[in-house]
Structures are given as C-alpha cells and as structure tokens.
Symmetry: C2
Subunit: 275 residues, 2 copies
DNA sequence: CTAATAGTGTCTATTAGACAGTATGTT
DNA sequence: AACATACTGTCTAATAGACACTATTAG
C-alpha cells in the first residue's frame, strides 16, 4: 500500500474518498407511548387507564400488512434525533415532545432488504394534545404487559385487533441486570419491533422510579388518583396509597380546582411542580 | 411515481435496489475502563488506585496526533457489538469481556471527512489479565474527575502527558435526569470523544449503585479496602466503612487467604460471590 | 510504642410497608 | 343509606448515616 503523505488536515480532506469504507443504511424507529382512557364501568367507578403505543400498518413489502413502529430512513443531513422528531411530528403533528434515545439495533438480518441499522427512540406524549386525526394506517394499541424475570408477554389491543408477542429474557452476565432479549412468539409485528417495545417498557418502568418522566404523559391538571393509576398501569402492579402520596408529594402542587360529579368524594386537581 | 405491484415478499426483494436511500458510514468507539495502581507513598500506606481509560494516538488525519478512543468502521457483515468486540480484542488481546452499548452519536459534523455516525460501547477490564504489551500508540490514562450538577472537569494523565477537558451539563427538560452535554474545553482529544467519556463515566457511576458491575474490573481476590477504594475513585467521594461493608456484604465471599506484610493489620481476601 | 489500616457495635434518623380509619361526594 | 373513591394517621420494619471503638501488623 503506497500511502500518500499529507501535511495538513485541509490537504488530507480535499483528497478523501468517502467510499473507501462500507456504507450502510440507518433508520430510526420511534416508540410513541401515551395513556389512554378506558370506558367507565359504572357512574361511580373511575375510568380505567391504559398504557398505549402508536403503531402503523405497513402497506408495502417487506412485512406488508404487519404492524410496526413509525420510522424511516435517517437523511444524510440530519441527526438521528432530528429524524425521529420529524417522524414523530409527521405522525402526531406535535413538536416539543419528550424524546429519548433507546438503543441501536444492528442484527445483520433484521431487515430482509439489505443491511439496515436502526436507532430506536422513545417519546412520551399527552394524548390530550393531539388535535389532528391519525393517519389512516395508524392506530393506538393498549398494552397489557406481563413481565417476570424470565419473559415479557405483551398483548396489544386497538379495539379491533389483538396482537400478541412474547420476548424471552436471558441474563447476559451475572454482574448486572442485563438481558439478551429473544422474540419467542410474534405473528403481527414487523422487524425486530417487539424488542424495541420491551426495551422501551423497561426503560420507562425504570425511570418512573427515579425521575419525573411520567408528567410528560399527564395533562396539565390531574388528580393524585389518576396519577397513581398511570404508575400502576405502567409498573403492572398496585401501589399503596399513603406510600404513593409520600413519594409524589414534592413533585406536585395542589391547585384550587376539583374534579367533581363522579359519584364519590371529589378529588383535588394537582399540577406538576416546577422546581 | 409509477409504483410496481408485488404479490409476495420474495418477488419484492428480488427487485429491491438498496441504493435507493442515502447511506452513511457507521463506526464504533469503545471506552475501555480499568483500575490502575499508583505508587506506594510509604511502606505503611495503601496503594492509591486510579480509574483509567485506554486511549490511542492518531497518526493519520483527521485529528492527527490527537488522542482518541479505540474505534473503527462497522463492517457490512458484522453487528456493532461484534465490531466493538473485535476492536477491543485487537487493542487488548482479551475476549469474553464485559461490554455494553452506550449511545449513538450522530451530529452531522462530528467527523470532518464525511457523515459518520458512531455507536459507542463501554467495556470494563481487569488490567491484571493483560498479557501482551499495548500497541505502541496506545496508553492508559488515569482520570481525575470532578463532577457537579453543572459540568464535568476531567484530567487525563498517562505519566507523560496531561490532557484536560470540560463538558457542560445542560438539563434537557425538567422532567428527567437527562442532560445535553456540550464540550466547553478540549485541546487534545479527537472527535466528540469527551462526550463519550463522560457518558461512560455517568453510566458506570450509576450502575455501581445497583449492580455488581464493579467486579468486572476486580482481580479474582481482593480486600474489602481495595474494593472500597475502587468505588471511591469512580464515585469521586469517600464512603463510610460500615455502610460500605453492609452494602457489599452479600456480593462477596470470604476466603481463607490474607494480604499480609503491609505495615498494618492484614486484610482478608474476598472473592465475588456467584449467586 | 506508633502509624496505618482492618473490622465491628451501636445509636439515631430516615424511609418504606402495611393497615385501619375518617371524609365526602352522587345516586 | 350505600357505594366508591379521597385522603390521613400511625405503627412497625428495614435501611442509611454517623461515630466510636477494638484489632492487628511492620517497623
């Protein structure tokens, strides 16, 4: 190899051939999480809340007619986060939304067309901010999540279709809590998107405990009961009222508003406290 | 646009042109962290321990003569983790090492040659396992880290050169723990590698508290004093002995070995407990 | 004996879990 | 009145922080 000698970075760059190395396609997949309200069972009872995710139906190959996360190619002139934000805006017409990088998936055969690496993002939105209708191929799916130390079982339900998938957890090493995720059942989701979904669920569950991240999905005013419901539906377990209220106490601020007319004692509306 | 209609995924794939979309180069940068022993100040005192990182000196443009993390292009036929593992093996001749994906950096101009996206990994090694000499352009740098809620100040020292950089932390949004990191001072490190280093430091500090990750950097046998030193040097603060010992108690196992001849009471050697 | 680290006992303050109770609206 | 949720008081168990003490070695 006869290597040319350069005397400055400018000189080197002028000569540089970008095709010297393999290039590949980079996409981003975005998890859009939110909270949905269920139906009221009786005039007295609370609305059930659901933890839900936005999926779109593919109308092209590959994975034609399967559901997948909104996503797309990362342009040569945008960062991955800009691409994710652009796609989020396209789907929801929302800007200024909480978005966080999750993980970059790079299995060789994750896309049957060619080598595609995908960086996934998680975003959290308050559904009340949605004004436009969803595009015709998009739909919110409520998630029923069963997680133990061996696996995830997730049922996605948009009212018309129920999608089920299972992901096995294999401990990677004894020194940490890291797992290899392996999809063991999946008939309706495209690509490796079950993995993206469970990664997002794990990240969110985790962050609920030590951040204020939940408020990205809450409306401006909410009752502590509603907030607790949101925690419970994401964590997949019931919480004790006094402990929950102690934990949340310094994150919220009482307002002089109330939620009335529910067939039981009215509840004080709170808002997120801006420290 | 005249779109051809396909009747099966096979048919579609046969026809697919992978050059339809922009393609870019993907690299990986790998943080190799370990613990180094300092000199003994007196026959009585303990060895000081240092938290250190492996850097290599660039001998080509761009960033000729600056220090950077070991890294390289991700081949079209390997996952990013495989690429990182390959580079780690090349630098250290070690296999079967703890390695974890950190973050994917994608700023448009992070590489002056062309658009390059880089996925960073963090690995933790026990330096005692190193047998071969380092390659001539590689060097271990002890890190002196000062972190508060506004910034990181890091001094890297390999005994010959001292490199200093500073990274400002800007809270991204009030609802989380997430920061935008901005390099405010850096003369000696290439690319955006100061960002990778502080991301790794943060991740590690965090995981020290709730995982057994530290043992990836420990030798087979160690004293609790040494283990505490390692925690202290990574966390950048002193810990109270009884609290530390309570915290660590069920992660370690006493052996019948001792460390003697140190000018003070001998210390029992422990090993990591395999639950 | 001295310097230095090894290792433990224990008090206290804080936090988390559990349960039971009171409060207040709608029908 | 009955129901359903809102909200609080308090006991107990577990954990974390702090300090002081004892133990043991080489020189």
């Amino acid at each position: 190899m006869n290597k040319k000698v350069y005397n400055s970075e400018e000189e080197f760059l002028k000569d540089y051939n970008p095709n010297e190395y393999d290039r590949l396609s980079l996409t981003t997949d975005i998890l859009i999480f939110s909270i949905s309200d269920g139906k009221k069972e009786s005039y007295r009872k609370l609305n059930e809340k659901y933890f839900s995710v936005l999926l779109v139906k593919r109308d092209d190959y590959p994975f034609k007619d399967k559901w997948c996360l909104p996503g797309g190619f990362v342009g040569i002139d945008e960062t991955i986060e800009q691409a994710a934000t652009r796609i989020l805006k396209k789907e929801t017409n929302l800007s200024n939304i909480y978005i966080e990088q999750l993980y970059t998936f790079s299995d060789i055969d994750r896309d049957p067309r060619m080598r595609v690496v995908s960086t996934s993002y998680m975003s959290l939105i308050d559904k009340n901010l949605l004004t436009n209708k969803l595009s015709s191929n998009a739909s919110w799916f409520n998630m029923e999540i069963k997680e133990d130390d061996k696996q995830f079982k997730v049922i996605l339900d948009n009212g018309e279709e129920k999608l089920l998938f299972e992901v096995k957890k294999e401990l990677r090493e004894k020194t940490t809590d890291r797992y290899n995720y392996i999809v063991t059942k999946n008939e309706s989701l495209a690509f490796d998107h079950p993995l993206v979904i469970v990664s997002g669920i794990s990240r969110l569950k985790n962050k609920l405990e030590y951040t204020d991240i939940v408020f990205n999905m809450m409306p401006k005013y909410f009752t502590l009961g509603e907030l607790q419901q949101v925690y419970e539906v994401i964590l997949g377990k019931k919480l004790l009222d006094p402990a929950f209220r102690r934990m949340i106490a310094d994150k919220v601020e009482k307002t002089d508003k109330q939620k009335k007319g529910e067939g039981h004692r009215p509840s004080i509306l709170y808002k997120y406290k801006n420290k």
